[in-house]
Point group: C2
Chain length 349, copies 2
């Protein structure tokens, strides 16, 4: 019987953050693709688009005018998934299959730049630092609202990720409950902390820095790596090296180092298929429930859908929905590919 070779043989890997497995099929990376191709077109965008509801000075859906903002700009989402209104509610006391609870929250849009045609990898470092400071301010302001216990900062980039406007922007959904994925993560972090009196993600980072196989970028304060248990072909995670539970704890140096790694990572992404690389990204950090959360460690997920080219994505469908996440290329191979890519944007070559 052959011995297990993680680079060649089908296997499952365990994700200790959410206690779930992923099926890895390294041998399957070469199957031909005859399915749907994605259209990705962002080249040739104007610096200012008079029809864009996010550009400075333009009119939004609710009839309001955007200010002539010069760095970033935050406004309440005109079609928020949550509302601020308090709702009276009596919880069912008898067991029921129809368990529902009102959810209160605030949803905001963060425009990253007045320029319609720039995304993170093409912005300058000052501009990216400014986004980070905006996230800090929003985390503080929203977190201070009495009924807000969690602030989810995220970005959907590219039409293939459901983004309806190429103007660089992210979103923040702040709400009264811990969302499912965050709760799962917190449970794992807490259990580990209680058992080992130590931080799961910091211990994991240490193991990754020793293994050296999945590191994409490292600077003085942050590491970008492909998690051992990544599900998306080029999924990455940025982790702060110091024990930091939330974005407001960053020093000035850390803000700069975070901007640097954000820019370098997204440049590599754009360079991978020489395209404006689509992804959903999001920050996971301590909830704003007023408690100390030593188990938390600041980290940011990048979930990009592309697999083989600018137009062929990985579909998380039938087996993945009914069974479990599945990937073809190994995380080690993805990390090696990303690591080898230049940190200069292909448009500036």
């Amino acid at each position: 019987m052959r011995n297990f070779d993680i680079n060649e043989d089908p296997h499952r890997r365990f994700n200790p953050l959410i206690n779930e497995w992923v099926l890895v099929s390294p041998h399957r990376a070469k199957r031909p693709w005859q399915g749907q191709n994605e259209k990705i077109h962002t080249d040739g965008l104007p610096e200012y688009d008079p029809t864009c509801y996010l550009c400075p000075g333009n009119v939004r859906a609710n009839g309001e005018n955007n200010p002539k903002y010069e760095s970033s700009f935050v406004f309440e989402n005109d079609f928020a998934a949550v509302k601020q209104e308090a709702i009276a509610f009596e919880e069912e006391t008898k067991p029921t299959f129809f368990k529902a609870k009102p959810e209160r929250g605030i949803a905001r849009v963060v425009c990253f730049s007045p320029r319609h045609d720039l995304t993170l990898p093409e912005m300058d470092l000052a501009g990216i630092e400014n986004i980070i400071r905006t996230w800090q301010k929003e985390y503080t302001d929203l977190g201070n609202v009495d009924y807000i216990n969690h602030v989810q900062i995220f970005e959907n980039k590219g039409s293939v990720m459901g983004c309806s406007n190429p103007h660089p922007h992210g979103q923040i959904w702040a709400q009264s409950s811990l969302p499912t994925q965050v709760e799962k993560t917190q449970n794992s972090l807490k259990a580990y902390f209680e058992k080992n009196n130590s931080n799961l993600l910091l211990d994991y980072l240490k193991a990754e820095l020793e293994a050296k196989e999945r590191i994409v970028i490292e600077n003085d304060h942050f590491v970008a790596l492909v998690p051992f248990w990544a599900i998306w072909p080029f999924e990455t995670m940025i982790i702060s090296k110091r024990h930091i539970t939330k974005i407001t704890e960053f020093t000035n140096e850390e803000v700069s180092a975070y901007a640097l790694i954000l820019k370098a990572l997204t440049i590599k992404y754009d360079n991978l298929f020489e395209t404006s690389f689509p992804y959903s990204s999001g920050i996971h950090q301590a909830p704003t429930d007023g408690e100390a959360h030593p188990e938390w460690q600041f980290h940011m997920h990048f979930y990009p859908p592309l697999l083989r080219s600018a137009s062929v994505k990985k579909f998380m469908v039938g087996y993945e929905m009914m069974g479990e996440a599945q990937r073809d290329i190994t995380p080690e191979k993805s990390a090696a590919v990303l690591k080898a890519l230049p940190e200069v944007h292909y448009k500036n070559k």
Copy 2:
């Protein structure tokens, strides 16, 4: 303060099958869509396509010829995500963040019909019954393989669901481990069974038949409903009325009734936007680990991505990936829409 109105106010609902919540935003159904539109084109397909590797008599990727099959046809997947080979492996005894295990399995493709241009809603009942009998045979044969503990039957339909060939077909991935979603479901079913000495899904079905709000189709042996905790806009679940843990327990009458409800449900789906309606579907049932599984109840999930029209889908992206699943239209509204649709296919009107 207003009282909670589940039809109007943002809220979370609890899914007892996998212990996760979904965020429901009823008020958000009307936001305008300026994002990506899907292309769905299956009209005008020929009955036989000489370039299709699934059509009878044609050559597959591995060089083999398909037989001139007349009903359904099963073959080993040429690009299987799992392999049959046994691999020697020693489990790590010390704790590690790099937890991986080889996975053994068999992947098959099930052609539903020799006709290139038909999908379930347009097939005749005899043809659909034949698919069900094929699933029964595969569940038995694969389940009998000593190292196979779970048989996942599923279908990806439509290019938007990663399906690369419109020829009607599904897949079966059989493997040594319980996939993540199935394990979560089994844990919930087991916990409920142990606590209540009763079957979670049968009790749930009873509650749904009393509530009457989310039932789409009912016949003597099966019910198709929109689960109270559905995440996809037009998600449904087919549940058998009798306590049935696996597909091989069906009586002849049940096979016919299952074919009937499969046809009626997929006709409604096609009629919704007058298009060949894309979805991923899959059967959840008892694992094939040789144990009795009284906690299980046969059910089938349908996860369709479309939201407002044949070309606008729901994107499960940033917030959904980092936070939790989110839906706009309520399950009750979706059920009412599906229920009202005719059971005659729009092409035959």
